[in-house]
Amino acid sequence: MNTQDAFQLIQAKVSAPIQLLEGPTPSILVRPQGLVEVLTFAKEDPQLDCQVLTCQTGSHQEDEIRLFYHLLSHEQNHLFVFECPVPLSDPKAPSVTSLWPAANWLERETYDLLGVHFEGHPDLRRIMLPEDWEGFPLRKDYVTPTSYHDSGFDLTVDNRPSAITQSFNLSKGDEKEDE
């Protein structure tokens, strides 16, 4: 089954508004309010039969964070993409952990790196970064820190030539290459 057919099937059966997005990979747009309803239908409908949440991620786009849900059916051998935009001012989305336990860690990763709060998640903690990390690195407005909590380490990269490059005449060689 392709995404167009799945879109029509969901539109006929589910009350939540959805939208078909064209592109290199066609996908179905769902608002956060209707997300759980649509994904539950995709899991339980025998024609869609998406037993596996194979990938859950997001990306920062200007004033919103767009969540991506890749659902896979082993029996039917098809894959659908659902998109769910959440506003950057209030990044909240319902958790789908109750549908797929695999969502637990995938949502934790999205929370950790993009700062989306999944409501109803049993254990929403950072997973990759330390608990006390500040900011969400995969947001586009993230400024890479030069120190870690006043630890004394300065992570700024020093690009000035050191004394040894001059005594070994290395900087001269580099200049020649540039010419």
Binding site: H70, P101, L138
Partner: protein, 373 residues
């Protein structure tokens, strides 16, 4: 005497530096005597922000980083990413390059499974098989070094084909290896696979039902061990796999229930046999010709998001790539088999012995760099 004796759970810490975790992973375990009451994996020690780096480098510039995603099967990781970008820009690798890719990727699959098998045996206390299998793996490393110049991080498969053609006499060397390896596998099977002590240790341990495997999104050998016959090489075929004749081994519950640790172990042993079959066919079928398609120096894929699946030794690896039409990825996510494999451990470890936890980790073949990325 009216005082009641009470017991309490003891929280112990396993890792991050532990010989059985195969990398830097930490487990926080609540134990009731020898039995695990709760197991909470703590990951992220090897997080190198590879997904963030991808946003800063060019499309070609990211290929060497994919090596570091999973150093046990760098060829497959190179290939998965290159294949994704090729799909985005509409380039097809030449036929000879596709065959070379299959050959090196299957060799890499064998070497990765050898480590999986060897370390599982080592975690059970058998050190000899691990050393023996490392010795066999060294031949594969040599073969891949002849082709690419590196032992582990190859950077060999690139966007549009492969970096260089195979050197003269390579195919003969590879055939020699396959012939030798058949015997080595027999020896290994006598030593470990059909060893009754090993079987008793692994059978009926940490059974994963098909429903549970799907719910936790297990992929690759871990999924197939639960009896679900799904392989990306068959389901969403890529490259020259449709022309090749190979079986997809699934768990049959040989010594216990379907989906136990022994099934997960045995599926990998059988996959090595299938990989050898693929290798034999490819060495016969490989045509002459170019190994690199014409690719523009500056790649600018059309805007949009893509999801490309690839069967690596750890299963269905998904590359989610979002492009905004510029010279570097806008967002890249690697959905790895180890990540979901790890998320099931907390559930599987409940009620098992502490000593069995290492068997469970070993049988799931979790690789830390791929887990944390």
């Amino acid at each position: 005497m009216n005082k009641e004796l009470t017991t309490q759970f003891m929280t112990i810490n396993m890792g991050p530096q532990h010989p059985s975790t195969h990398g830097v992973i930490r487990f926080i375990i609540d134990t009731d005597g020898e039995i695990i009451h709760r197991c909470d994996p703590d990951i992220g020690y090897l997080h190198r922000s590879i997904e963030k780096i991808a946003e800063k480098v060019t499309w070609q510039g990211f290929v060497p980083y994919t090596d570091r995603v999973d150093y046990l099967c760098a060829m497959n990781a190179n290939w998965a990413y290159s294949m994704a970008v090729e799909k985005m820009i509409g380039v097809e690798a030449p036929r000879r390059a596709e065959f070379i890719r299959v050959i090196v990727a299957e060799l890499n699959r064998i070497s990765s499974h050898l480590i999986a098998i060897g370390t599982t045996a080592m975690d059970m206390g058998a050190f000899t098989p691990f050393i023996q299998l490392l010795r066999e793996r060294e031949y594969i490393n040599d073969l891949l070094e002849m082709a690419s110049g590196a032992r582990l991080t190859y950077n060999y498969i690139c966007i549009g084909g492969v970096m260089a053609d195979l050197p003269l006499g390579w195919s003969e060397k590879c055939e020699e290896f396959i012939h030798h390896f058949d015997l080595a596998m027999e020896q290994m099977n006598r030593l470990v696979t059909y060893n009754q002590i090993f079987i008793n240790r692994m059978a009926n341990l940490a059974v994963v039902s098909p429903q549970m495997a799907q719910a936790y999104n297990l992929v690759g050998p871990n999924l197939r061990a639960s009896g679900i016959k799904r392989d990306v090489r068959r389901d969403a075929p890529y490259s020259v796999y449709p022309e090749l004749d190979f079986e997809i081994p699934v768990g049959k519950g040989l010594e216990g229930e379907v989906g136990d640790c022994y099934d997960r172990f045995f599926v990998r042993v059988e996959e090595i046999r299938e990989s050898l079959r693929i290798l034999r066919q490819c060495l016969k079928m490989i045509p002459e010709g170019e190994v690199m398609a014409k690719v523009k120096k500056t790649i600018k894929p059309p805007a949009g998001h893509y999801y490309v699946r690839h069967e690596t030794p750890r299963g269905d690896t998904g590359y989610f790539i979002q492009s905004d039409g510029t010279t570097s990825p806008y967002r890249l996510k690697i959905r790895s088999g180890s990540f979901t494999g790890m998320s099931i451990i907390g559930e599987l470890a409940k009620g098992t012995f502490i000593a069995d936890l290492v068997a469970i980790i070993g049988s799931l073949d979790v690789v830390a760099p791929e887990l944390d990325r």
